[in-house]
Symmetry: C2
Subunit: 331 residues, 2 copies
């Protein structure tokens, strides 16, 4: 009797230690886009609005992780908060196409089994990140596009809205100005209008599972059904429990050409680099082909990285020690 009690006590102690150890590992990092974000162009009100929304988003994901929720759920709920805010170029407030409509891209990847899902060119899905997760879970495919993506989301019973829901006055002014000058937003610096307003989130949960997600309206004035890096697994999003999770924001074409998200992972897997050094190396490659932007990520030990080669990047994180960081400009 006493022996059984002692064994139970020892097992309980071992279990508690393990569970405490793995609880230390939860961490989350988000971005709300990188670009020409300068303090001198920002009002205190706008700055506060961004800082508050970033904090709300990252705290929401962290609470889910703290309560034992999955990194998938944390990434989904965190990105939805940013999609539902007109501050960011994703969901409502998305950058508009040449036709003055919203056309939304998103992707999601799960590090434990390398499952992934993505949509490109959706017109009606309220929360593109949830549709990306649904493509992963409910279809045999990874990437669905345009009308087909909307049709799939409607079939799956996801929330849909008229395209006008996404359109804000600020973005309408931006695209009209860009059309007048026949420029794409990445060729075109516009005060207070983040050049690359993608949103993204990477999280690691108590089970050590990493998930990454990214969502965007793409570039202002985009034409010809242009697809950027966001729905491209390996370019805009990557997750693998063996190394890390990554979400990018920037001049999408250069992030595709440099396969940025997976290039960071490959440096960790094959070359034993740390996530920060690998991120800096990949951004250097982006700069060499003429692009710029930023990347966020965390490795499977919960180490966080937030790097960019633009003036600023909306970003926030809560690290494995529970420390909150919310920043806009370069340090």
């Amino acid at each position: 009797m006493m022996k059984n009690f002692l064994i139970s006590l020892i097992l309980l102690l071992i279990y508690s230690c393990q569970s405490t150890k793995s609880e230390n590992n939860i961490a989350i990092v988000i971005h709300g886009g990188a670009g020409t974000i300068l303090k001198e162009n920002m009002t205190t009100e706008v700055e506060s609005a961004y800082l508050n929304k970033l904090e709300e988003a990252v705290q929401t994901g962290y609470e889910i992780l703290k309560n034992g929720g999955s990194s998938q759920s944390a990434v989904d709920e965190t990105i939805k908060i940013m999609e539902d805010s007109p501050l960011f170029n994703a969901g409502i407030g998305a950058a508009l196409t040449n036709e003055e409509t919203a056309s939304l891209d998103a992707s999601f990847m799960e590090g434990k089994n390398l499952n992934a899902g993505a949509i490109a060119g959706s017109k009606y899905i309220k929360n593109p990140i949830s549709a990306a997760i649904s493509v992963m879970e409910d279809s045999p495919h990874v990437l669905l596009s345009s009308d087909g993506a909307d049709e799939f989301a409607i079939k799956m019973g996801l929330d849909t809205v008229p395209n006008s829901y996404f359109i804000t006055e600020r973005r309408l002014n931006s695209v009209r100005k860009a059309k007048k000058d026949d420029m794409f937003s990445f060729e075109y610096s516009y005060i207070n209008d983040s050049k690359y307003g993608t949103v993204g989130c990477v999280a690691i949960d108590k089970m050590g599972n990493i998930s990454s997600g990214t969502s965007t309206g793409g570039t202002t004035n985009k034409k010809w059904g242009r697809i950027g890096d966001v729905p491209i697994i390996g370019a805009g999003t990557y997750a693998n429990n063996d190394c890390c999770g990554i979400s990018t924001t920037g001049w999408g074409e250069h992030f595709i050409r440099n396969v940025v998200a997976y290039d960071i992972a490959a440096q960790i897997i094959y070359n034993d680099k740390g996530i920060k050094e690998a991120s800096i190396n990949s951004l250097d490659k982006v700069m060499k082909t003429g692009g710029d932007g930023g990347v966020i990520g965390l490795d499977n030990k919960g180490n966080i990285s937030m790097e960019f080669n633009t003036a600023g990047m909306y970003r926030a994180s809560i690290d494995k020690n529970g420390n909150l960081t919310v920043k806009i400009y370069s340090d």
Copy 2:
């Protein structure tokens, strides 16, 4: 005077040696799809038709390289021959969608500057590979999709055809059979109908420039604007003069999730692997997530690799010594 003459002579000799050396480096490799290709299911006539067309395609590209043409031009012309043949799942003879239409994807990448272009979901472009090259050269984008891709191609003056041009009786029978059983082609083995009939080509020219291209009709019975790995740089196609060029064929979703084309490159860049070993490693990863298929590639020394984990892969190459190989089944 004599001294100047001697210096000139030495410089001329050095130049000649270099130019001879680099001329030895030209090489080309192609695939016409991998899958359940078994000798017992093949007639002699069909087998000859494939072998002849593969040889014609690879010889065409090699002649261009031998005459000092660019690897871009070699890849373009070689793939066009396969697109224009109903034998392969690309251009005419493409696998058909759930709507019994052709929906074409292609991508191209240039190793000297990491430029890339791709189209997804085109209905009217006669030669998708040329459209991918045009996206790279004539637009600020990498990937254009659906109606937008067609609109761009028409604007650029590329050859367009009615969608019915692409449709063959063989593919119509396949999709109708698949629809009846509600299966996608990769879940569905069909005698004499290559599961993954993508075509691809990688070449290195006298200048040492590597180019890669891939073209496909996607999977039989595809729905919801599904995009596979072919138009995804890093998954279906990759080229970088620092290491190699790659084109893949197989269950596209698994090639996206494993970022196959760039994973092979990354092993060469970061882990000093040879192209054959790196290709085998990446295909092992594809198998681990439940997929299969093949990859072709060559490194910047002109070493060729043609690997697959299916029963067969239509493939051909002419190596740096001028040796021709044309094969269908496993060795």
